[in-house]
Symmetry: C2
Subunit: 336 residues, 2 copies
């Protein structure tokens, strides 16, 4: 058995309404808290929506104790007055360059315009979470964005900046450059490459943004994980879409929530680094973000199970695969 | 009006049976002959199937005069006796490294093993057509294969070798290296990049093998086309799959047949090189392959039309786009 103390998923999309109620239990069974992204419709970009969204997620997780950490959706018209008033309650702010990912059309267009807000955030010690991609050629979008991270980190040396879901060697190597820069890595970018999505027949359930990268990029991410880098946090970027939306609308996002800890345990065990899993899925995040999640442990037990083809209308990653770790207390009825 | 004398599509998939009868008219309306690929089930890999397949395609094109040029599907157990006996009737032989594209599982596994057959082909002056991709990382498969082309061209300097559907700068730059190496370029690799397929929502109708490449690769292909390279031929690689197969099975292939000449004319006109279109879609191929297609011209007239969302069960590329050239005699009923 593996016991994880207060595991956290530092990047997840739980959507809204019926979809939210469907997916939050998967996350809450495996984690005691999660960074729930604010790219809802409309986005969570003020205190009122923030408080309502936190409550909606908590209600969906009940009776499990669960802390949703919801970064506010970055607006370039935030004022110092409102951010100062809200800051004691906020977790951070999430920056989406406009148009690069699901529901991010209202994100920020010109990176330069936002620096006054970053100054306020630094003054208020509000962390900045970033979807770091330019509008360039897909495989290069994150590599090109590293220069933006560099500029932010240099200009605002006390601002805590998290490079969300890093996918490239360039971002991995950049992680060590500035004290105030951190990163999350997803399960799918750690395990798979673009070839898993499109090297054979196209697999829409591995289509995500940022797109899966090369074997060399994946190796760089795995090296970071294996070295137990203390600025690295697990963040799944689990992002549910219905099978219909995946197949007919080309929706981007991997639904990994039901398989996260079993797959992570398997990878860490295969690499002989199971003793590092606790830091990766909890300790680093608690230290970096100074959060105090609910006192709850999650146990993984050795038990083979087969990932079901779908959870309701949602097809998970690794559907049909046999995994060897099972989350104690997970819903066995879903396996039928 | 643009009049094209004996236009040819030097690479097309017309499949079999009902699908064949559905798609051949699109090709026959625009071209007087086409290289019809032999990756049927079972593949066209002997003289009997070859003759039957030619007849099947001709029948589907009737009453239009149309020459199907069907390269035999490469088998590594071809004997000198059978190839010698068949050679006077054959167009060439198509080599698929095993497993890289639709129905190519029976293709050839180890490149080295096939050189005795290439020797026979050179002796018999039988052209070699190649799907040139390794089994490596998708975006690099063609780049890696250029070394194989180089080896073939050096070892068999009198063997005519066509690099089918080239997609990369490396292949484009390699075209000039050997006298006996030629190339085809598709419409979709000339017009689009990987971003058109997956830079926004995923577009399954631009998912093909080889996959769409980078803006730099596309620029290299366009440069070849614009310079009027005389070893370059148009080959659409139009490859029909039903919408269901595209969406639920991840089938690879772009169905471009209904829009080919209109899109080519538009591109050549926009580039100010309309006078080069004739060589690109006919003269080069007739010289390289020494074929004598039916004496028939195809006229393009200026008339705006909107590409329909689907032709029967098949979604074409450019669906919904407005094009300004119309193929005289094309089926207007399909626009409803």
């Amino acid at each position: 058995m593996i016991t994880l103390d207060r595991p956290l998923d530092m990047h997840v999309h739980v959507r809204q309404d019926e979809m939210l109620r469907r997916v939050v239990p998967h996350t809450a069974q495996q984690f005691v808290g999660a960074v729930c992204m604010p790219n809802t419709l409309p986005p969570v970009d003020n205190l009122e929506r923030y408080e309502a969204y936190v409550e909606e997620v908590k209600a969906a997780a009940a009776p499990l104790s669960f802390d949703p950490y919801v970064p506010l959706f970055f607006r370039d018209d935030f004022t110092r007055e409102e951010l100062s008033a809200w800051a004691p309650k906020l977790f951070g702010i999430k920056l989406y360059p406009a148009g690069v990912t699901t529901n991010s059309d209202s994100g920020v267009g010109e990176i330069e315009k936002i620096e006054p807000i970053l100054q306020i955030m630094q003054d208020l010690d509000l962390p900045l979470l970033v979807h770091g991609e330019t509008h360039g050629y897909s495989p290069d979008r994150e590599r090109e964005f590293v220069a933006v991270y560099d500029r932010f980190a240099t200009t605002f040396p006390k601002l805590r900046i998290t490079m969300e879901h890093i996918t490239t060697r360039e971002a991995a190597e950049f992680l060590g450059k500035h004290e105030n820069v951190f990163a999350t890595i997803t399960l799918h970018h750690m395990l798979w490459t673009m070839d898993d999505m499109l090297g054979g027949p196209f697999n829409p359930f591995l289509f995500c943004k940022p797109i899966l990268k090369s074997p060399d990029d994946r190796a760089a991410l795995q090296d970071l994980v294996k070295q137990g880098h203390d600025k690295l946090m697990f963040g799944s970027d689990s992002a549910p879409h219905t099978e219909v939306a995946k197949r007919t609308e080309g929706a981007a996002g991997c639904y990994s929530a039901p398989v996260l800890l079993p797959c992570l345990a398997q990878f860490f065990e295969d690499q002989g680094i199971l003793d590092q899993l606790q830091a990766y899925v909890s300790d680093n995040a608690r230290r970096i973000y100074r959060v105090d999640p609910p006192q709850r442990s999650v146990n993984l037990v050795e038990k083979e199970w087969t990932v079901p083809p779908r959870y309701g209308s949602i097809v998970p990653v690794n559907a049909g695969a046999t995994l060897r770790w099972w989350v104690e207390g997970a819903n066995e009825a879903e396996l039928d």
